[in-house]
Amino acid sequence: MQAGAPRPLRILLCKLGMDTHTVGITVVAHALREAGMEVIFTGLKQTPQAVASAAIQEDVDVIGVSSLSAGHTRSLPRLAQLLREQGGGDKLLVAGGVIPPEDLPLLSAAGFARVFTMGTDTRDIVAYLAKWWREKLAAEAQAR
């Protein structure tokens, strides 16, 4: 790696279960790549276990789950739990899609740092992740 150039953030984007709506996740993937982040997509119809394994194997910093069917109350906490169990508890978890406000506390308690609901500007998503990444890199540098 070039000295001075910070390592780009690596994010795994995924879709769980039978939910095949991909326009939102596609737009987000393009925006993140344009902002210099490394984006990996798992493909459709994944299980929480497959995503947890891929996240650990690919050594990503962030996992972003897109959910536009009502499966999020079950599959998202399950993914968070599997990650913790398998040594991926340090990764940032975010979600986006059609998620009603009353489900936000449940996802927050499960370990999701942020949920981007319908209509979120991609620039806000990029800014949120970039800030988190800057702070994480700075904390790591300080620790060294």
Partner: protein, 576 residues
């Protein structure tokens, strides 16, 4: 007959030159000085989806510039190239058939709802399946927990289809079924259920969408790799034409490409290339194009850009006619006339200020009618972005089409916008760009290769991103979303919560069936399906035999998975 404009009589040419000179003078002497004092309200005027520049004024000089010729580009209604209409009298003899897709429950619930709709005077129904069914799983598969019966009817075995089709068939004339990847299984179950109910298949039209190639392109409900998907679809087309020639074996749902943000050129080119892939595969089964072409149907959306929508519909008619004639050598008029259903798009509707959607739907339905409407028109509902459509939404949706048909007068003259300098220029531009794109796809090897290489998917992914940027950066104003936003508007999203009891009941039924049926006969029948899959025999007959001994939907799709494998596209192949 094509007649290039430079062969026009000298007097006409002189007139055209005069006009061009006059137009330049007007620009210089009249418009430019005005604009310098009154700057234009936008930096660039662009069409909504194609983002093509829109000129302030179109004149006959534009028609000349794009090589427009009345006889070769338009002709007359009911005659080649059908740009003006496929029907000789447009909609003066009959309006388009007004239909509506409704959300519905599942199982016996579906039959109850269907009977209610038939009692309201509807003659046709559309059967949507839940995601486990369309993705080829039984209701008790761990992968589909929580999805059973949610987005449509849950089908595990012939018994479920029999329950769903407990209908007055003397009144039901038409049933459309949307179940693409598992199509031979779904087709077999419907045929077997109709046989058991002794329905006369000649007096009834089953229309299967059978649209697997668009699933790979953007919808995502695929199972097997694309080459096997195409073979499966072709088996169903062949079976229907040979055994049920009055049925409809395929629809190209361009209306699924449009919400995936295909622009009009991509939408027209991709759907035609996809149609050609099915046609080429079916021609190899020994049919001729004049027999085959009338079996193809299209469902096409229009979006809010009025002229892009209208011109696209006109271009669809012409491009289909040209491809059938020029590429395939079809000669029967029926083969040259596109069969289409039109619809306002749901992606123009907003969750915010939902009553505004009634206005949007009326405008888009008018665009559909001005674009020729097709054989059918269907309208989504203004509260569809919210939740399950309410009764009032259904009533308003139905009234909308009647308002367009009876009150506006747009259907009284055939193709009334023909001859508009702007409409003809844009129609011709869309047609030319689409023909060039079709050519490019054919040079790649056709739609199947364009899917296998991810070309379609990546093109749509880029389009999705760019169009979203238009919105975020304010180049496109969307009322209620980024313009005239009502601060603090209470948005009511109603998320359908799965009824666990229904899922449990469905699973209990499935397990009881597995315990009571002749499992040796099932194993034997599944092996026959695997054999047909391996050997290239038509899959419908062995599936038919298997569903009759109550092999389940998931078992049959699984048997085909054993032979074909599964499609697991990465980022390159999904466009994400």
């Amino acid at each position: 007959m094509s007649r290039p404009l430079d062969h026009l009589p000298l007097a006409d040419q002189a007139a055209n030159n005069d006009l061009a000179r006059e137009a330049e003078r007007w620009e210089r002497e009249t418009r430019a000085p005005f604009v310098s004092g009154h700057p234009e309200r936008r930096e660039a005027f662009l069409t909504q989806a194609l983002r093509w520049p829109i000129k302030a004024l179109y004149t006959p000089a534009d028609l000349k510039a794009c090589g427009f010729d009345y006889l070769s580009d338009l002709g007359f209604p009911g005659e080649y190239p059908y740009t003006r209409a496929t029907q000789p009298n447009g909609h003066r003899s009959n309006f388009w058939t007004m239909t509506q897709v409704t959300g519905f429950g599942k199982g016996e619930d579906w039959a109850r709802r269907a009977r209610y709709m038939l009692e309201q005077g509807l003659q046709g129904l559309i059967l949507e399946h839940d995601l486990p069914t369309t993705n080829g799983y039984d209701s008790d598969d761990p992968l589909v927990e929580g999805e059973v019966g949610r987005a449509g009817l849950a089908i595990d075995s012939l018994e479920d289809v029999e329950r769903a089709l407990d209908l007055p068939f003397e009144r039901l004339r038409y049933l459309m079924s949307v179940c693409n990847a598992p199509q031979p299984v779904n087709l077999a179950m419907i045929i077997a259920a109709l046989e058991k109910k002794q329905v006369d298949a000649r007096k009834f039209v089953l229309h299967i969408v059978n649209g697997i190639l668009i699933e790979y392109t953007c919808v995502g409900r695929y199972i097997y790799p694309p080459v096997h998907g195409l073979r499966i679809a072709t088996d169903c087309i062949e079976y229907i034409i040979r055994h049920h020639p009055n049925w409809a074996p395929l629809s190209i749902i361009s209306a699924q490409l449009q919400p995936a943000k295909a622009n009009p050129v991509q939408e027209l080119a991709f759907s035609m290339a996809i149609a050609m892939a099915y046609i080429d595969a079916t021609l190899q089964r020994g049919f001729d194009i004049d027999t085959l072409a009338p079996y193809f149907h299209f469902v096409i959306n229009v979006d809010m850009d009025f002229f892009e929508g209208i011109c696209k519909l006109r271009a669809y008619r012409k491009v289909w006619a040209r491809l059938m004639k020029e590429h395939y050598g079809a000669t029967r008029p029926e083969a040259l006339k596109i069969r289409m259903m039109t619809s306002p798009t749901t992606i123009a509707l907003t969750l915010q200020q939902p009553l505004n959607n009634i206005g949007r739907l009326a405008i888009m339905a008018t665009a559909c009618a001005l674009g020729g409407a097709g054989d059918n028109m269907t309208t989504p509902l203004h509260d569809e972005a919210h939740a399950l459509p309410a009764e009032e939404g259904i009533r308003v949706g139905a009234a909308l089409q009647h308002i367009v048909a009876h009150e506006t007068g747009v259907a009284e003259s055939i193709d009334p916008l023909a001859g508009s300098y702007y409409v003809e220029t844009l129609t011709k531009q869309i047609e030319s760009a689409a023909m060039a794109e079709i050519d490019k796809i054919l040079k790649m090897g056709g739609a199947l290769q364009a899917i296998e290489s991810g070309y379609f998917q990546r093109a749509l992914g880029r389009e999705q991103y760019e169009r979203n940027k238009d919105l975020e950066q304010g180049r496109r104003k969307w009322i209620g979303v980024n313009h005239l936003v009502q601060p603090g508007e209470q948005r009511q999203i109603e998320i359908f919560r799965a009824d666990q009891r229904m899922e449990d009941e469905q699973i209990a039924r499935l397990r009881a069936l597995r315990a009571r049926r002749d499992n040796a006969a099932v194993a034997h029948a599944l092996e026959a399906v695997r054999r047909a899959a391996r050997e290239g025999a038509n899959l419908v007959p062995p599936c038919l035999a298997a569903v009759k001994v109550y092999a389940t939907h998931g078992e049959l799709c699984g048997a085909l998975r054993d032979v074909f494998g599964v499609h697991t596209p990465d980022s390159q192949l999904t466009g994400v």
